[in-house]
Symmetry: C2
Subunit: 201 residues, 2 copies
DNA sequence: GTCTATATAGAGATAGAC
DNA sequence: GTCTATCTCTATATAGAC
């Protein structure tokens, strides 16, 4: 059986994705979703058991999309530094923030293991993927052998997530870019960092 | 005229601070504040014009407290690296997140220049304070001369803010600590980082 | 499947007694 | 200054018509 155009269930999920990104879970009402989707009350409760169920479908899709977007940069045939750099410098609307990461500040999402799971899994996947790449770069001599891949990976993800916080606080993407450049400068393959720690004078 | 114990206005502000930290602005209702403060409806609207006004008082106080806490580590008589390290390694409840930074994910806070102002000013102050310290460390030879202080400062703040995101996503403070260690490893005064970027396998 | 009532609770604020 | 009504609007969900 065919569905002409986009069906209601689909529109509900997409509307929820947009509103969750913009206003979070607590700040998004079923009524707002229905308005955005152009659907009536009954449709939502026909396709989903309620707000949490619909939100879960929306979050899962957003999480999958985020992994695919990241992999597009991280999976390129290039050096580790170039792939990490491509991921960090990718065009972003920093003021919108991360549609997955922002959910960690939502009390109702964090209180529900089911809603939190896709958020956790996605950020965890990203960390592990970056860890592989850092390890690879270390073996190839791009990075210092003293780098700990798992910690470096956590740093990279944190820089992005925290960059969104700075951008939104200042209403400007500049701070996001600054943090990313600061990280890339420290990660950049370098000959010698300068004089040893001569703290005197 | 004396006020015995803590007055109602004070209790309202403290209750609001706790709830804003825990549930954000959108997720905090006046009713919840009154319950937490042990006050009636009338008290709140006597001392404040409404929810935004009370939230503003709470946010300002939290912001001031955050600056003081950071300065306690950053203002120590020590090397730049030690002060930054002390700030990053300070004991934190990473799962609670940053009471100031979390507000950047609150749509109603971001939509209001008045509510956003103390958030912006605080994170901006922190970045500038760290910038001074990085610059100082660079002049003293602790850090590479190629480091750009403003970008490094943005990175440090982003690492902390993003670390909270990772910790909350995974319900564990471990990821926060990992990111911080990853950053400190890259910042650590070092003699030579290893071989130059020989990317060929 | 989708719609329009309808129901119950809570958000946010006001009025006026004490 | 603080309290308890009270008010209007919205959140979330259900019922039942079409």
């Amino acid at each position: 059986m065919y569905t002409q155009g986009v069906n209601t269930s689909e529109r509900l999920i997409e509307a929820t994705r947009e509103l969750l990104w913009e206003r979070g879970y607590v700040g998004t009402s079923p009524k707002a979703i229905l308005r955005q989707a152009g659907a009536g009350q009954g449709s939502m409760y026909h396709h989903f058991t309620g707000k949490p169920d619909l939100a879960l479908a929306a979050i899962r899709r957003t999480a999958a999309e985020m992994r695919a977007t990241a992999e597009a940069d991280l999976g390129r045939p290039d050096t580790a530094y170039e792939r990490i750099s491509a991921y960090l410098l990718r065009e972003r609307d920093a003021l919108r923030g991360c549609p997955v990461g922002r959910l960690t500040m939502d009390p109702d999402v964090i209180a529900s293991d089911e809603l939190r799971a896709p958020v956790d899994e996605t950020l965890d996947w990203l960390r592990e993927r970056l860890e592989e790449i850092v390890e690879e770069g270390r073996e190839r001599g791009e990075f210092s052998a003293s780098l700990i891949p798992s910690e470096t990976a956590a740093l990279i993800v944190a820089t992005v997530q925290g960059g969104y916080v700075l951008a939104r606080a200042s209403s400007s993407p500049a701070a996001f870019d600054a943090g990313v450049r600061g990280l890339l400068a420290l990660l950049a393959p370098q000959e010698c960092a300068g004089p040893a720690g001569s703290a005197a004078g």
